[in-house]
């Protein structure tokens, strides 16, 4: 059991998890209605992972993400309205509509960006950790990878480098069982990604990614090790995604009713709610209040995104070194 979490902390954790879930469920709906363009990869089902990690991160810590980045953004404190507007491609978006779902970044909050390249994040997180180490800020970096990225050469190189340079970085592998449409038990050469840690000279641990408390406890150790200058760690969060690889994916590579069953059996929000109301002195009324608060926030975010202006045509050639 994780130590030292006050009722207020637990309510914060719930608020973050609930915000991610509502955000993703709503993006799913709005995408189907045609309001959202492009490629969108939803994080619903994995909320405990981003939240249990994010609660340990200071604003000066850095987080590198992946395709499925909305949850990481929210857990790192990126403002939800700006995120929604970005996903709609609006000028008021976090990246002024130029990045979209796959490239949401907010360097002010230490969010180094979702990433469209599988395995793009790990070397970047090493760099952020190197900067923290050289500047003596005591900051750390965390990178979230999927089981897919666990097989990329860039990821292996980054893990090796992190140990060689004793970098304050944590590699979190969110193993949701599928890299795109290919099951991880086919594409990953070992049973547990955590076992790869030993080859790179760092501790590795398997974590129940549906359990906020397990995630929180495991990351506490990894973060402490990083902040103490003892080097990197690897955590494998075993969890599930409740939507397809991208919106529009018919998910026929999954057994029928898998998602329905998962939503019933392994929902991290339900599990968290039951735990905190039974054993941590949280009232259901407090959780319900957060539910309404979050519902309003997401409604407002969608309205904000829908009513925001498009970028100006002249924005096409701004924010880049030179025009031809």
């Amino acid at each position: 059991m994780t130590a030292n979490l006050s009722v207020e902390d637990l309510l914060d954790a719930y608020r973050t998890m609930k915000t991610i879930r509502e955000f993703e469920d709503r993006v799913h709906v709005e995408f189907a209605k045609g309001g959202i363009p492009g490629f969108v990869h939803l994080y619903a089902g994995e909320e405990a992972s981003a939240t249990g990690v994010g609660m340990h991160l200071k604003e000066t810590d850095k987080l590198a993400s992946n395709h499925r980045g909305h949850g990481h953004c929210i857990a790192k404190g990126v403002e939800v309205k700006g995120m929604m507007a970005e996903i709609y491609g609006k000028k008021t978006g976090t990246c002024h509509g130029k990045g979209g779902s796959m490239h949401i970044a907010d360097l002010d909050t230490g969010m180094m960006g979702a990433n469209g390249i599988v395995g793009g994040g790990p070397p970047l997180a090493c760099g952020a950790a190197l900067a923290a180490k050289m500047k003596g800020t005591e900051g750390i970096a965390v990178v979230f990878c999927g089981d897919g990225a666990s097989n990329q050469g860039t990821t292996f190189e980054a893990m090796n480098l992190a140990t060689v340079w004793k970098l304050p970085v944590v590699f979190v592998f969110e193993n949701n069982g599928y890299g795109e449409a290919t099951p991880s038990n086919y594409a990953v050469s070992c049973k547990d990604i955590a076992d790869r840690a030993i080859g790179f000279g760092m501790p590795g641990e398997i974590v129940d990614g549906h359990d906020f408390f397990a995630v929180h406890t495991a990351f506490a150790k990894a973060a402490e090790r990083a902040r103490a200058g003892e080097g990197p760690s690897l955590l494998e969060h075993k969890l599930d995604r409740f939507f397809g690889h991208f919106e529009g994916d018919n998910q026929n590579y999954r057994p029928k009713d898998e998602v329905k069953r998962l939503r019933e059996e392994v929902c991290c929000l339900k599990r968290f709610g039951a735990e905190v109301t039974s054993n941590h002195g949280v009232d259901q009324a407090q959780l319900s209040a957060i539910d309404s608060e979050v519902a309003t926030l997401i409604d407002e975010a969608v309205a904000f995104a829908e009513n925001s202006p498009e970028p100006d045509l002249s924005d096409l050639t701004t924010d880049v070194y030179i025009n031809y």
Partner: protein
């Protein structure tokens, strides 16, 4: 017998016919079948847009799902090509060349030359390029110019269902590495395609419209933008000749030069960004070799020198449009020395 099928179906048919003909042809890539090792359906995707769908059912283990490990499997395909197989390797988006480029430009491209002509590397890398899907900066780029710059690679950019089938079969029979660039908005394009197997040779441009006033040289999706501009301009009395390069390496200089010698004016249309592009390359060749024929400075219509924006309005502005092409034609037509 020709019948109408889509660009996507034409690719699938080319792969199917060549796999039936030649057992050394194999396919590998991320989710080219999809579902390997799982409890759901096998051949679940048949490639992210379904281009290779059905081939796993016919050819089984010759259609291989790979981990998301481009350097690993592209490199393995290159190695297999040197050892008797003819892999057709799918790089899902051309943007992902960044994570496997060494295996392509330092390894595959150089073997035949470095090894004194003793190696053949018959690999085809099929890859999806181009803007128009709101797929943002890392899934929308037009990078064929980078491959074209590498000696040892052949670069094919088909514009129609007919061309994509014939050029892909040619690519699979070629003994050099071929980068085969498919524009993502063309997959649903329908056209006449013969049922039987056929090849289209590399390095032979296709004059898709004959004309006398201006030559428009272009490739890939931009052929269609150029044709639309040419149709509009014809109503205004301007006669455009549209040259579809089909392959940028090898490049059919002869057809380009002959056309410009006839028309005296050149507009190059290229979806790449403007520097070090197919547009600059063609312009340089024409300026050097057909200078005396030119009656006006060459115009280039390209994307701006920016990453591809996510926002739809900006992305539409990014892609060279028929309107911009027509404007460029009017500039060369209106030039007074």
């Amino acid at each position: 017998m020709a019948r109408k099928i889509t660009y996507q179906q034409a690719i699938n048919e080319a792969l199917d016919q060549e796999m039936a003909r030649d057992k050394s042809v194999i396919i590998m890539g991320e989710d080219v079948a999809g579902g390997s090792g799982g409890d759901g359906e096998m051949d679940a995707w048949g490639g992210v847009l379904g281009v290779t769908k059905g081939l796993w059912g016919k050819y089984g283990d010759r259609v291989m799902d790979t981990p998301i490990s481009e350097a690993g499997y592209v490199g393995a395909a290159v190695g297999a090509a040197t050892a008797g197989l003819r892999p057709v390797c799918e790089l899902m988006f051309i943007d992902f060349m960044g994570v496997c480029f060494d295996q392509i430009y330092n390894q595959a491209a150089k073997f035949r030359y470095m090894f004194g002509g003793k190696a053949e590397t018959p690999i085809v890398i099929r890859t999806m390029y181009g803007a128009g899907f709101r797929a943002a900066a890392q899934h929308s780029q037009c990078l064929y110019n980078m491959f074209t710059a590498v000696p040892g690679l052949k670069v094919v950019i088909p514009s129609s269902p007919y061309d994509v089938k014939g050029l892909l079969i040619q690519a699979m029979r070629d003994n050099d590495p071929v980068i085969f660039c498919e524009h993502k908005v063309l997959y649903t394009l329908e056209g006449d395609v013969p049922e039987e197997s056929y090849t289209i040779p590399f390095g032979e441009a296709n004059i898709v419209r004959e004309g006398n006033d201006v030559t428009i040289v272009t490739v890939g999706r931009m052929v269609h933008q150029a044709m639309e501009a040419a149709t509009t301009l014809a109503k205004e009395g301007v006669s455009c000749e549209v040259v579809d390069l089909r392959t940028t390496s090898p490049l059919d200089e002869e057809t380009i030069l002959e056309s410009v010698e006839n028309t005296g004016r050149l507009v190059v249309v290229d979806e790449s960004t403007p520097r070090c592009s197919i547009a600059t390359d063609i312009s340089a060749i024409v300026a050097q070799k057909a200078f005396g024929s030119l009656e006006a400075p060459i115009e280039m219509v390209t994307a701006p020198h920016t990453p591809v924006p996510f926002n739809g309005t900006l992305e539409d502005q990014y892609v060279p449009s028929p309107g911009k092409i027509a404007d460029a034609v009017k500039i060369v037509m209106g030039y007074k020395a």
